[in-house]
């Protein structure tokens, strides 16, 4: 039984067919690279799995059980964590506040619950250290570099023991050294038995960590195969349409 199973997922935005009958099976410990041209439907797929909006048609099953997410928290409760492409950060809050948004650490005084800033700062610092990121938990996101913001968005996925981590271009704005850290993290998560979907336009990253690759073109799945059976040239052809499907 697959950890995550998508069955003919379709999504229409008015006249736009963002996804057309996409099937997918993902098992624990698998890293799937999801590639495709701009507008191919990658983020749309992620957002459907993350409970952001429902599919127009098709079914999602988690460990064999059909799920219907109505809001992002539903997906998170089932162990699905997401790094959104636009990072989904609040510029006016600190790094730590962003990481814990929606699941703050609290101290209880009888019926009154107050925010436990120190605990959140400490935990956030630990997460940044794990990511080897020079990000300070008390800094306001507005003043941060692109890489630091990305670290905040990634750190957020580490708060709970997720089953599935969806990363929509987690390496888009960061330095070579930090890319290596993110790829290391992905391997570590995989070794812990998590399933990961990595969306990236960077071919070397995908070939470095993924064991499977899936290509979307205009909302349709045109390839889903082991990375060892493919090559960057083939994937490029699949993305552009020079190769019909594989």
């Amino acid at each position: 039984m697959a950890l995550l199973e998508l069955q003919s997922i379709t999504k229409n935005f008015g006249a736009i067919h963002a996804l057309v009958g996409v099937d997918l099976e993902l098992n624990p410990g698998q890293v799937l690279g999801l590639m495709g041209d701009n507008g191919a439907g990658k983020s749309t797929l992620v957002k459907i799995v993350a409970g952001n909006f429902p599919a127009s048609d098709g079914a999602i099953r988690l460990e064999g059980e059909e799920v219907h997410f109505t809001k992002p928290v539903d997906a998170r409760k089932k162990g699905i964590e997401v790094v959104y492409q636009d990072l989904a950060l609040c510029n006016n809050l600190t790094a730590a506040a962003n990481i814990f948004l929606g699941r703050e650490m609290k101290r209880e005084f009888g019926p009154i619950k107050i925010l436990n800033y120190q605990a959140m700062f400490n935990r956030a610092a630990g997460l940044f250290k794990e990511l080897k990121s020079e990000t300070r938990p008390r800094d306001v996101v507005r003043q941060m570099s692109g890489g630091q913001r990305q670290a905040v968005a990634i750190a957020r996925t580490r708060l709970s023991q997720a089953k599935i981590v969806l990363m929509d271009e987690p390496t888009a704005a960061i330095s070579v050294r930090q890319v290596a850290e993110v790829l290391d993290l992905i391997r570590k998560l995989r070794d812990q038995g998590m399933a990961i979907i990595l969306i990236s336009h960077r071919m070397p990253d995908v070939f470095a960590v993924c064991d499977r690759i899936m290509v979307l073109r205009r909302g349709q799945k045109v390839a889903d195969k082991a990375i060892s059976d493919s090559s960057p040239e083939e994937v490029t052809g699949l993305i552009t349409g020079a190769i019909e499907s594989s």
Binding site: C90, L101, K113
Partner: protein, 338 residues
């Protein structure tokens, strides 16, 4: 550990800016400074300024606007606006007066008065948060609607009979804490300070406060991370109306009468106080202290002009200048940051 990786202990305590920098970048600090300077100048210019009588009047007068500005602050932090607070104050005051005049006990009158405010705030909040109507338009409509209902309920008559507990009721808003001959603290000021502490606590130390800032910073991100965005928006409008209701209870007690004109035009003074104190109409920023200090500045300017013998016609000019100066300071800070 490799050299370019800082230890947790190093990083946890680091802030990007020093405490001094943060104070200098804080609008409420500059407004506080302006108040201190105006006060010093006025003490020199006029014997009447630093008298217990004048301070009593000033602090009482500013409390009504201050209380409503506290309520306005979370609304503005979420990038909303509540134009209906003056009318809610009027409606709530009229209903309160009618209930007390009908011979009901004080607590019933106050409960129904505040309940009316909460109900109106709930309607505002529901239309804005769940039906997704524009806050400016919804509360503009409510400004007109609630005022008209105040006139309907009062039948355009002044209410000054507050029933069997009138004395106690009037003392609530008109009374003071007596601390000897020269120190009298008006009750509305005490109420404002207590409410300011409550708002400060709510905004800074509860998840609710965190969510209010998050909604104003990036509503979509807040939604994605599981913040109950609609409920948060609904709650800020209810809270804003509740503060207008509390201000009405105190104001009616102080005035000793209610007319349906109670609170007319207050929405602009309240928004002015909030903005002068550093709240950003684009959302994401604002503090309880800022709301109070903005209200203080507006009243101190008014008082200073009266004592300096300047025509009251000039009052609006100075308040207006401070509003524009406030957004100018904001602009300057953002410019330096960028």
């Amino acid at each position: 550990m490799s050299k370019n990786v800082a230890s947790i202990e190093d990083v946890v305590e680091v802030r990007e800016s020093s405490p001094l920098q943060r104070i200098l970048g804080n609008q409420a600090f500059w407004i506080t400074l302006a108040i201190v300077i105006i006060s010093i100048v006025m003490t020199i210019l006029s014997d009447a300024f630093l008298t217990s009588n004048n301070l009593f009047n000033v602090t009482r007068n500013l409390s009504f606007i201050g209380i409503m500005a506290l309520g306005m602050t979370p609304v503005i932090i979420t990038a909303g606006i509540d134009l209906s607070v003056g009318s809610v104050m009027g409606l709530s005051g009229v209903i309160l007066g009618l209930v007390l005049g009908a011979g009901q006990p004080m607590w019933v009158g106050i409960t129904i008065g505040l309940g009316t405010a909460l109900f109106v705030g709930g309607v505002n909040g529901f239309l804005i948060a769940y039906v997704r109507l524009n806050p400016f338009v919804v509360t503009l409509g409510m400004l007109s609607l609630a005022r008209s209902q105040a006139i309907v309920f009062s039948q355009n008559k002044m209410i000054f009979d507050f029933g069997p507990e009138a004395r106690r009721f009037l003392d609530l808003g008109g009374g003071a804490l007596e601390l000897g001959q020269f120190a009298r603290i008006p009750n509305p000021l005490i109420a404002m300070v207590i409410l300011a502490v409550i708002f400060w606590f709510l905004l800074n130390y509860t998840p609710w406060g965190q969510y209010v800032y998050a909604v104003g910073g990036n509503e979509e991100a807040a939604r994605l991370t599981g913040v109950p965005v609609r409920w948060i928006k609904m709650s800020v409008y209810m809270l804003s109306a509740l503060m207008a209701g509390i201000a009405a209870v105190l104001m009616v007690g102080w005035l000793g009468a209610v007319t349906n004109a109670l609170g007319t035009g207050d929405e602009l003074r309240v928004i002015a106080a909030t903005v002068i104190g550093g709240a950003n109409l684009l959302g994401g920023a604002g503090t309880a202290y800022g709301a109070v200090i903005g209200a203080v500045l507006i009243e101190v300017i008014r008082n200073a002009l009266i004592l300096a013998g300047v025509s009251a016609f000039w009052n609006g000019t100075f308040v207006g200048l401070f509003i524009i100066l406030a957004v100018f300071l904001e602009r300057l800070r953002n410019y330096r940051r960028a």
